[in-house]
Symmetry: C2
Subunit: 114 residues, 2 copies
């Protein structure tokens, strides 16, 4: 290993630069196998502003991790699902969520919050 020349030679850097950040993993995990509307996502997730959610969704779409489907009805309706690329992330997200549910993680967080 020697990633100095190009940071992206590091697999973890590569992965985290794609789905890392404060909101992306949460969004991806929330969508999961289902198909969610903008408003529904907003409800399911920890507090996130419209703008940020909107931006993140756009980025995720550009990255090819999610797909946006717009239904032309009287009241505008949009649904987000994981693309195949996005689905390939599910094992990773599960592993993360799984660890997040461990007592280890819970204990550390309660210490952090103090």
């Amino acid at each position: 290993m020697r990633y100095i020349e190009n940071p992206y030679d590091c697999p973890v850097t590569r992965a985290m630069s794609i789905f890392g950040g404060k909101w992306k993993p949460i969004i991806l995990n929330c969508i999961g196998e289902s198909s969610l509307r903008f408003g529904k996502l907003n409800q399911l997730m920890p507090a996130i502003s419209n703008k940020v959610l909107s931006n993140e969704l756009k980025e995720l779409e550009t990255l090819g991790l999610i797909e946006r489907k717009e239904f032309k009805e009287r009241s505008q309706r949009v649904e987000y699902t994981l693309s195949d690329s996005g689905k390939s992330l599910m094992p990773v997200l599960h592993e993360i969520a799984n660890w997040g549910n461990s007592n280890q993680a819970k204990k550390i967080v309660t210490e952090m919050v103090k």
Copy 2:
């Protein structure tokens, strides 16, 4: 699910707030099963400034994910290893690195860089 009241009720939020961020996963993955000195870490990792590396290591130690051992010799020597908590993260890190090595990830990154 409804994490609005308390964000930390979301397992992914919990996990990422612990080992997420730009550098923490990379550092943890670099250390892995081995025992690394400060300078060695600096070499192995993508370019990171002294200050940031120092800060991150301190935080990781506070979180209880790594252990710092100082050897009193003529030239000062410090080694960092994963604690048991830190080791419990290895499957997660492996999954992340693994995905980072996938063609999916590599392709996305090359698109991003453009």
